[in-house]
Amino acid sequence: MNKFLKKTVNYLFLIFIIYLLTFILIRTIPGDPIDFLIGQNNQVVDIDALKKSLGLDLSFFQQLKLAIFNLLQLNFGVSIYQGAEVYDLLIPSLINTYQLALFSISVAILIGVPLGLAASFFKKSLFNKVLNFCVPILLALPSFILAPILILIFSLTFHLLPVNGMDSKLSIILPGLTLSLGLMAYLAKMTEDCVGDILDSQVIICLRAKGLSEIKIYMTHILRLITLPLITVIGLQMGSLLSGAIITEMIFSWDGVGKLLIDSIHQRDYPLTQAAVFFISLSYVTINYLLEFLYPLLDSRVKYND
């Protein structure tokens, strides 16, 4: 229990520090949200009154005090540029990002892990060789190269899927594939390596001696033994996917939190940037935090106390 408390305090502390850093960083960037706002609207306005209404006339430390006070109430205020509540802007884009992340991670798991299992089952087959040839190539393809290739094939040549945007239900497929192909290759390779290590161990020899069929050994025993390393990798990747795959979101005009963050920084929209960074780091840190509690549940050899 003590360990649990310590981890939780540490977790909250991390998020708080990241919030503070964002607060300071976004304010030290040259450029003023007011300038940006006025430049866009082309109106005659009372700058002092506008500043006052947005709370920008206060001194740096007063603003900081207010921001911390608002954070404790989980109130992120109103967007400077768009005038809407930060939550109203942030939540839809968070949902979009989570959708994309979940879609791509499940595609990667559902295809990558069986491929890796099959590759280790048929060790010296052609299939194994083809997979081992493809994996490094897929791992070396950054999203900004993979995305145009996929668009060229699926949208422009065969007209199967929309190029970008999020109007139809099919539009999640291309950004999802862009994010999941590399991950899929990684999971397949890792599954194969892990199974290879386990196959040499005494456990498997014992199971074979017991007379279990190979299929049964794979499906019930090996699959369970490789969950722990797989969960670690999946968790880490999930963390980075949830923080918004910025480049992929930009290419496919996917209204996710990464795109929102970039726009808000360019518009110097302080409350929106702070909230976006807060939720991005929150998802990353939370996944890591949850993983540490998941390990002992999945594998009783791992204990809380060390």
């Binding site: 502390f13 520090i17 190539i137 393809l141 190269i145 145009p148 920084i265 960074v277």
Partner: protein, 260 residues
């Protein structure tokens, strides 16, 4: 076989950039009657949207990208491994603080940091270098720290402490040399990752951008002509991909040899 090819590709590009330094090919020269010309014998990779030779621009872009990425990797390697070893060696409160610092940098969206730096200092060679270094030294620190934690319990370090060697000499003579093999593997992966990061920055329009020859910026420009002139995207894209592929496989074979 694959190992040899993976050493060949970066070597080829370095060789070509040396030739380029001698001949001084002009990456900005425009031929308006050759716009988006497909590859032929006079230019292996064809021409881009302003009629500039893609091959020459790729080589010029490689030189700048390589310099940035190479320096960023080296600096992160030195800073990261030194701080990581030191943190694990000192241990206690300092180590816990250091671990938190690493977590903060990893959880913090790197793009915000990079935009902040580039807005503050304007986009230039050195500022991109700083931005990339700040986000990538953490990987080395993490590995060096874990390696040192296990090394610290081994007898030869205890012997060195008992013999009364100074802390500095333990860190420099015993701890750092013994973590190097794992760090060299990470060196290659970081190099590959930074190539992606640098090209990605240029792709988002936050790196060195056109008309300056840069791989990421070229790729972004080429996407507008994906349908009319696919050779532009293919040549630039496959250059980036091959570079990453070769550094990944150098890293993998290093890791494999070290494990043996």
């Amino acid at each position: 076989m694959i190992k040899k090819i993976s050493l060949l590709i970066p070597g080829l590009f370095i060789f070509l950039s040396l030739i380029n330094l001698y001949f001084d090919w002009d990456p900005y020269q425009m031929n308006f009657d050759l716009i988006l010309q497909t590859p032929n014998f006079s230019s292996f990779f064809g021409y881009d949207d302003y009629g500039r030779n893609i091959f020459i621009r790729l080589i010029n872009g490689f030189l700048t990208s390589f310099k940035i990425v190479f320096l960023a990797t080296l600096i992160s390697f030195f800073i990261g491994s030194f701080l990581g070893v030191l943190s694990a060696f000192i241990g206690g409160f300092y180590d816990r603080l250091f671990l938190n610092l690493i977590s903060i940098i990893q959880a913090f969206p790197g793009i915000l940091l990079i935009i902040a730096i580039s807005a503050f200092l304007e986009v230039s060679f050195w500022n991109i270098l700083i931005a990339l270094t700040i986000t990538s030294w953490v990987g080395f620190a993490r590995i060096a720290r874990v390696q040192t934690l296990t090394l610290k319990e081994q007898d030869f370090i205890k012997a060195a402490i008992t013999m009364g060697s100074s802390n500095l000499s333990i860190v420099f003579k015993h701890l750092i040399p013994n973590t190097l093999s794992a760090l060299f593997v990470e060196l290659n992966y970081t190099f590959a990752n930074l190539i992606v990061a640098e090209a990605g920055l240029a792709f988002l329009g936050m790196g060195l951008s056109s008309p300056f020859p840069s791989w990421g910026a070229m790729l972004r420009d080429s996407i507008d002509y994906l349908l009319i002139a696919p050779h532009y995207t293919i040549t630039v894209g496959s250059s980036i991909m091959l570079m990453i592929l070769s550094f990944n496989s150098i890293g993998r074979s290093l890791a494999f040899n070290i494990e043996k």
